[in-house]
């Protein structure tokens, strides 16, 4: 244990030195979201500028801090001053910022917020955590994301990293499981099975070796919670795996991660290396006699491989097809041995519970759904990004308080990805927890929240999700393989204005067959988007079928675009984006739209700032 104390001491010193650095420190958000917004170019330009100036400045990569819509982030920490965050930085702005803060001085450009303690205003700048998007969040699993260098184990250790593991090793397996029971933590992969019970099953199961698998096959469209966590704080996940493995008696672990997450994979590999070098992984971890090793297994991008038995098959080298349970993986999993599979977020949360206690964690959330949950807040919402809130927070709080509401009137929110459902505005005050969502016909899922406004056609949304599940079905069982396909065909028919009222009946009937008949969760939940939209937005289906009209003006076959002459200012924006030259007209005069040439791509409609393009639902006689 003396080793660990030495490491902790050194880590704290390093971290303190960084916090109170005698020279400027620049942090750049280099998660996938940041990179996608141009953080790479920012990094290069900063590096170039610093090289030119020859001034000693530390440049540090961090992960995603949350509000993705404000990416790329660049933080500047001057000696004697806290970290100030700047948003939407591009290469040009980065140079200006450096100039302003480091070289010519003046610090005239206003930061978004500061990361210094105590919270409150510093130099007239609000704390980052007091921003509307962050004020109502509770960051437990995301506590290090965007703060530390995810490629430096010392940063993690300095922020109490591996303290959970140390506590766990002292507690023993039974103690850990008890602590988890107290915490009330439920699986964050979607189904919400109590974690302590899963571990207990596996611990009691006969067989050796036992395996621990981390399911990082995040495949829901619009979901990126796991990716961000791994990119921002890979050590949290790895520490969680160590604790889990110790509790269930596993000596080997796999991380099944999508090959489409190259950055997450790279950071995991670096983190694993560093942990091995510091004695946190391998033989006799922290002199406790506990051995554990981790291997990455890259998935080939099949959504169904997120299903645990398909995931196991995939690791074994077979086609990713689920099998029936029982036997459950806890009894007979990978290579027929007892296996526990936990989601990234579940594992990432565990070090915090072991560090601060189950009771502390249970202090958040509701009676049956305890703790916090991360969500990828996306869609037609003003403030998109990765958030973490206590369970029991209402949809309204998330969408309007944190997300800032929608531009056009709110219509629906999809929770739980393709397996979840679309809830209408009547459910805005629904507290988010496992039971409430299920009772409304949706699911918690892994945490995707897709917000839709008046411009979203609910039939089209249902079709989108069904097509996704239909294509991602493994093809093993009949209802899922053929049934989802039939549903897509019917939805296609409806969105083309060729539906009949019996189709709704057939859809409901098929949904029942697929739900009751399918082998795995993918199939069983696949009809949810259709069932919920039928339940809450039936009028839209009827509009498509009876009136041959798409109320949101989305379904291409039911829409015709025209220019509203009274509103058109002749700004030419639509002329520029029209790919077929269907819109013409001189500047400052109302434009013309030639319906013959129009391919209904909706580009003009999206760019018009004066609501001068109308997407009229046309009626097919």
């Amino acid at each position: 244990m003396s080793d660990i104390l030495a490491i902790q001491k050194r880590a704290t010193e390093e971290w303190q030195a960084l916090q109170h650095s005698q020279h400027p420190v620049i942090y750049i958000g280099m998660g996938s979201c940041g990179l996608a917004s141009g953080a790479g170019a920012v990094w290069n330009s900063v590096q170039k500028a610093l090289l030119k100036s020859k001034r000693k400045v530390d440049l540090i990569k961090v992960g995603c801090i949350g509000p993705c819509y404000l990416e790329p982030f660049l933080d500047i920490q001057l000696p004697g001053s806290p970290r100030f965050i700047f948003n939407n930085v591009d290469a040009e702005r980065a140079e200006k910022l450096l100039d302003d803060y480091l070289f010519t001085g003046g610090a005239k450009l206003k930061p978004l917020g500061h990361l210094g303690a105590p919270e409150g205003k510093i130099n007239g700048t609000e704390s980052f955590w007091d921003l509307p998007m962050l004020k109502n969040q509770k960051r437990i699993v995301l506590r290090n994301c965007g703060i530390i260098d995810p490629e430096n184990i010392m940063h993690y250790i300095a922020r109490d990293g591996f303290q959970g593991l140390i506590n766990a090793l002292n507690m023993g397996a039974a103690g850990i499981i008890d602590e988890l029971k107290v915490s009330g933590l439920r699986g964050r992969g979607g189904a919400g099975f109590p974690v302590f019970r899963k571990w207990q099953f596996c611990r009691k199961a006969k067989g050796s070796p036992k395996y621990l698998i981390c399911n990082a096959d995040e495949g829901d469209p619009g979901a990126f919670m796991n990716r961000s966590l791994i990119e921002g704080d890979p050590f949290a996940l790895l520490e969680g795996m160590l604790i889990a493995a110790f509790a269930i008696g596993a000596t080997f672990g796999y991380i099944y991660i999508r090959a489409e997450y190259p950055l997450a994979i790279e950071r995991l590999i670096k983190a694993i290396d560093q942990m091995k070098n510091s004695g946190f992984l391998g033989k006799d971890i922290l002199n406790s006699g506990f051995d554990f090793d981790i291997k990455l297994k890259e998935g080939a991008g099949a959504f169904v491989c997120g299903e645990e038995t398909a995931l196991i098959a995939s690791i074994e080298g077979h086609r990713g097809m689920p099998r029936t349970r029982p036997p459950f993986p806890a009894i007979s999993g990978l290579h027929g041995k007892p296996t526990t599979i936990n989601n990234v977020e579940t594992l990432g949360t565990i070090p915090n519970i072991l560090r601060k206690g189950g009771e502390w964690y249970a202090g958040y959330g509701t009676e049956k759904s305890k703790g916090t949950k991360t969500f990828a807040l996306v869609g037609k919402v003003r403030r998109t990004g990765l958030i973490e809130v206590p369970l029991g927070t209402t949809l309204r709080e998330i969408i309007f308080d944190i997300g800032g509401g929608t531009y056009k009137p709110f219509k629906a929110v999809q929770t739980g990805g393709p397996s979840g459902g679309c809830l209408s505005k009547d459910y805005l005050d629904l507290p988010i927890d496992y039971e409430s969502l299920a009772s409304a016909g949706s699911i918690m899922g892994s945490g995707g929240l897709i917000v839709m406004d008046e411009h979203s056609c609910m039939v089209d949304v249902a079709k989108y999700f069904l097509r996704f599940t239909s294509q991602e079905s493994c093809g093993k069982c009949t209802p899922c393989r053929i049934g989802t396909r039939k549903m897509v065909e019917i939805l296609n028919k409806i969105t083309e204005g060729k539906g009949v009222m019996e189709d709704i009946e057939i859809l409901e009937n098929l949904a029942g067959t697929i739900n009751m008949g399918s082998l795995c969760g993918l199939g069983q939940t696949a009809p949810n988007p259709v069932l919920t939209t039928l339940k809450y937005f039936r009028n839209e289906y009827e509009a498509h079928i009876i009136d041959h009209r798409c109320p949101a003006a989305v379904c291409r076959d039911l829409v015709e675009y025209r220019v509203i002459k009274e509103k058109c200012t002749g700004c030419q924006r639509c002329v520029e984006v029209c790919p077929t030259g269907a819109i013409t007209g001189p500047r400052s005069e109302p434009h013309n739209l030639d319906p013959e040439k129009c391919i209904k791509c909706r580009a003009c409609y999206e760019v018009c700032r004066f609501d001068a393009i109308a997407g009229d639902a046309i009626v097919i006689e």
């Binding site: 099949a302 169904v304 086609r319 097809m321 099998r323 029936t324 029982p326 239909s470 294509q471 991602e472 079905s473 493994c474 093809g475 093993k476 069982c477 009949t478 209802p479 393989r481 053929i482 049934g483 989802t484 396909r485 039939k486 065909e489 057939i506 009937n509 098929l510 067959t513 009751m516 008949g517 399918s518 082998l519």
Partner: protein, 865 residues
């Protein structure tokens, strides 16, 4: 480490199915329990004896106090479980699922309201040479969808037909794969991978585009198809359908019999209609537990039995032309002529695929009537006493059953290509490997069995004995045994280096092999033809027995000899051998001789008999002058010097050209008889159809000839009377006896030597693809397509020395002659090795007798000018 053998006592538990209480074994599935109780639950993907799948979802049942429905085929029963198999809701759910299945399978024939009244001639849509009615599906009457539609009362399909519009896959010679009919039940994929371990069929694509296919869209052949036909047997819809018998309709008769093409003696079901075999495969409606066969058992019988070239009347050669004559005239003609050749100028060659009854009569006829000991089976082993040694060993240590191959923790396979000679044995080896048993293989080249092994050692062709000697020496060293001088000599450094050079193996490999074997608690040794078909086979036998003894005892470890052809052991046992009477009684032992002379009430010849090979080599005025051939054999040029030759066969062959008369012969599906299989049990084959024309079994023919020669002792009315006679003199129940074997044989051998003049070692595959000497590739074009016979396979290295490229022609030269062959690259061959599957026409290049002396010949390969 000692393993406690757990004898799990299977607990009985009580459950209720549809209100019926029953006691069932714990751990079985609901479906199994229901079937035992005679309760029907519809299924489509279920296969007996294979791991659970649960894909079709038709077997869903309701379990009290359980959420939703569960699949009966995957859910194990538990104490007190209350199961309901048929409710209105369940039927609707199942019907909806079936409707979905049918939406992707042409369903009009299944839901047509006239389907039950459809007469043969109604609505014929095909202008073809058969009357089809509207029943134009190859599986009509044996389609599991028909049963399901009936049971679930499906009347209509609400969805348009989603026809996949795929081209049927026709690259398999024996069956077609029309994936438009596929319902993705996965039976074919599972049986191919989990039961046969061929790994050819797989699911490709995903979602609704999922199909059955091969990896990377390879052809069936390139994907490694072994043509076992298991996928055809299990397909419920006709998506995979045999070409043979496709349009014949449903069989009216199914007969269980035994395959005689190899000594595994598989149980096979032959479906027939009238006097015609439709196919070999499961009885209609019993596709979930097909009998496992190989390409020969599955696809050969129908093709040879109904071959258009089959002869059904005696044919007499007159002025170089075949003339049909009456049976009685033929017998009289033969009897008259044979009278002239009594004594050692007469020879008889029988077939190792013929029954023990027939072979017993052949040798009885030869010895009693013709007064000759020149009687042998075609392609008999070079080691004349080998079978007797095996017989004595088996008497003390009966062969392991094929299903018990994996009872050992290590399976040691040497000199075997069971995947071609005994595919079912290969299957058991693969299963053992998959189930975690250790498989160690030694062979002349890296072959398919090696793919399923934990350890593989290559020895040079013809160096089996060196390999075994060295292996034994190392085993002794590892076990720290006191080494006899001969062994110590082997381990001398100079000898080791020399052996490495000529043997083609490294000492480290042998040592590792030895250590692996020494560590094993129980070893099953499987010995293939590269050992059996060698002049050193008897020495190798001794070595194997001694190795087995060293490694934990003869009782503990067992040796299984992969004898070839259906009845080689049985035939030899009943006396079709120049040196032995039935029961391996010695011809030249006075007591045995007198005993048999007494039994047959005659004087028996004393002259030494010749083997089949020797007979052919001794055809001359003062040697063999008359020959009787049962079945066919390679057309050896010496046959031209015979004065008189009789052949009884199913076809006229090149050999028939030398015969004076040819009699029509029954196949094993037209007569009855017994063989003794590789497990040494007596197996019966029964007539499936009537023989064509005047075709008769061998015993009936020989009996008539004997009577024509006014000989008594042949008055059998049925084949079983012969069996009784055999049983009265030898023990076919094989009660155990003591086994004596010499400890260590001296290293005295005439092993195969390399030659500088002929630097290439051509490995010759013993060709088992024949039926009673009739080469299958010559009769069945499909067989020719899959076999690649008469092609010279060489290592890449060898081809580099030539200007000819892969697929071009080269000349092969041996001491016996030369011939031009197509050359192809084969992986797994050592640098100076080549490989060939010879046809009968190629054999003169490898031997001056009927068959090569061993499975390797020295040769030279040249470019064709």
């Amino acid at each position: 480490m000692t393993e406690v053998i757990e004898k799990k006592k299977i607990k009985k538990i009580s459950i209720t199915i549809d209100g019926k209480s029953m006691m069932v074994s714990e751990g079985i599935t609901i479906l199994e329990a229901a079937r035992k109780a005679g309760i029907y639950i519809p299924t489509l993907c279920y296969l007996d004896n294979l791991p659970h799948y649960g894909g079709c979802r038709l077997c869903m049942v309701e379990i009290k106090n359980s959420k939703g429905y569960q699949t009966a085929c995957t859910t194990p029963v538990c104490q007190g479980m209350e199961i309901i198999t048929k409710t209105a809701d369940l039927q609707i759910l199942r019907r909806d699922i079936l409707e979905l299945i049918l939406s992707e399978h042409t369903f009009t024939c299944l839901i047509c309201k006239d389907k039950n009244d459809c007469s043969e001639y109604m609505h014929s849509t095909r202008k073809v040479g058969v009357t089809t009615g509207c029943n134009f599906c190859t599986r009509n009457g044996d389609c599991e969808l028909q049963d399901l539609v009936e049971y679930l009362e499906l009347k209509d399909v609400r969805f348009p037909i989603a026809y996949r519009g795929l081209e049927p896959v026709k690259d398999n010679p024996f069956y077609e794969l029309d994936y438009n009919l596929c319902v993705l039940c996965g039976r074919c994929v599972r049986i191919c991978n989990e039961e046969r371990n061929s790994g050819v069929l797989a699911f490709v694509q995903r979602g609704n585009a999922t199909l059955v296919g091969t990896a990377f869209l390879e052809s069936q052949k390139d994907a490694g198809c072994e043509y076992c036909g298991a996928c055809v047997d299990v397909c419920p819809t006709g998506s995979i359908a045999e070409k043979m018998g496709s349009w014949v309709g449903c069989p009216d008769n199914s007969t269980i019999t035994t395959c005689v093409l190899c000594p595994v003696g598989c149980k096979m079901n032959v479906n027939s209609k009238g006097n015609r075999i439709i196919n070999v495969g499961p009885e209609p409606g019993k596709r979930t537990a097909p009998l496992q066969l190989c390409v020969r058992g599955k696809f050969v019988p129908g093709d040879i039995v109904h071959h258009p070239d089959r002869i059904n009347k005696p044919l007499l050669k007159k002025e170089n032309r075949w003339v049909e004559i009456a049976w009685d005239d033929a017998i009289r003609y033969i009897a008259r002529n044979l009278e002239k050749y009594k004594g050692s100028q007469f020879g008889m060659i029988g077939s190792a695929q013929d029954s023990i009854e027939n072979n017993y009569i052949l040798q009885k006829f030869t010895r009693k009537v013709m007064k000759s000991n020149n009687v042998d089976l075609l392609f008999s082993y070079p080691g004349k006493n080998l079978l007797k040694k095996i017989h004595e060993y088996y008497n003390a240590f009966p062969p392991i059953g094929l299903n018990k191959i994996e009872s050992a923790d290590t399976i040691f396979v040497i000199g075997s290509q069971a995947y071609s000679s005994h595919p079912i044995v290969e299957n058991r080896i693969r299963k053992a490997y998959k189930n975690g048993k250790q498989v160690v293989v030694a062979h002349t080249h890296n072959n398919r069995t090696a793919d399923f092994s934990n350890l593989f050692v290559n020895f040079n062709p013809g160096k089996e004995y060196s390999f075994l000697s060295m292996l034994m020496a190392y085993i002794s060293v590892v076990l720290k045994k006191r080494l006899p001088d001969s062994v110590r000599e082997l381990l001398e450094n100079s000898n080791q280096r020399k052996l490495e050079r000529i043997g083609g193996f490294r000492m480290e490999e042998i040592e590792q092999f030895a250590r692996t074997l020494v560590k094993s608690r129980k070893i099953n040794i499987i010995v293939g033809e590269w050992i059996l078909r060698s002049p050193e086979s008897e020495n190798s036998f001794n070595l194997l027995i001694n190795i087995s003894r060293l490694l934990g005892g003869l009782e503990n470890n067992r040796v299984l000899f992969l004898l070839d052809e259906g009845n080689r052991y049985g035939g030899t046992l009943v006396g079709i051998h120049p040196d032995y009477f039935a029961g391996f009684a010695r011809v030249h032992n006075r007591v045995d001789h007198n005993k048999w002379a007494g039994l047959w009430n005659t004087k028996l010849p004393h002259q030494k008999g010749l083997s089949a090979n020797e007979m052919i080599k001794n055809i001359s005025n003062d040697g063999i002058r008359a020959l009787f051939v049962m079945g066919d054999m390679p057309p050896h040029k010496n046959l031209a010097d015979l004065e008189f030759m009789v052949q009884q066969n199913m076809f006229l062959s090149q050999t028939s050209d030398y015969a004076n008369i040819v009699l029509p012969l029954c196949s094993f599906t037209e007569t009855e008889g017994h063989i003794i299989d590789v497990e040494r049990s007596l197996k019966k084959f029964t007539p499936v159809i009537k023989p064509p024309g005047l075709a008769r079994p061998a015993w009936a023919t020989m009996q008539e000839i004997a009577e024509g020669m006014r000989q008594d002792g042949f008055g059998y009315k049925r084949a079983n009377m012969i069996l009784s006679e055999i049983k009265s003199v030898i023990d076919l129940s094989f009660s155990t006896a003591e086994f004596e074997s010499k400890r260590l044989m001296s290293v005295n051998r005439t092993e195969h030597r390399k030659s500088n003049k002929f630097p290439v070692q051509v490995i010759i595959e013993p060709n088992h693809f024949h039926y009673m000497g009739n080469l299958l590739s010559a009769l069945i074009p499909d067989m020719k397509a899959i076999r690649e016979e008469s092609v010279l396979f060489v290592s890449e290295k060898l081809l580099r020395d030539l200007t000819a490229r892969d697929g071009e022609k080269v000349r092969l030269i041996t001491t016996f002659g030369k011939k031009v062959f197509k050359v192809k690259i084969m992986s797994g061959l050592n640098g100076k090795a080549a490989y060939i599957k010879p046809t009968w026409d190629d054999l003169p290049l490898f031997s001056d007798g009927l068959s090569p002396e061993r499975c390797v010949v020295n040769a030279k390969i040249e470019d064709v000018d």
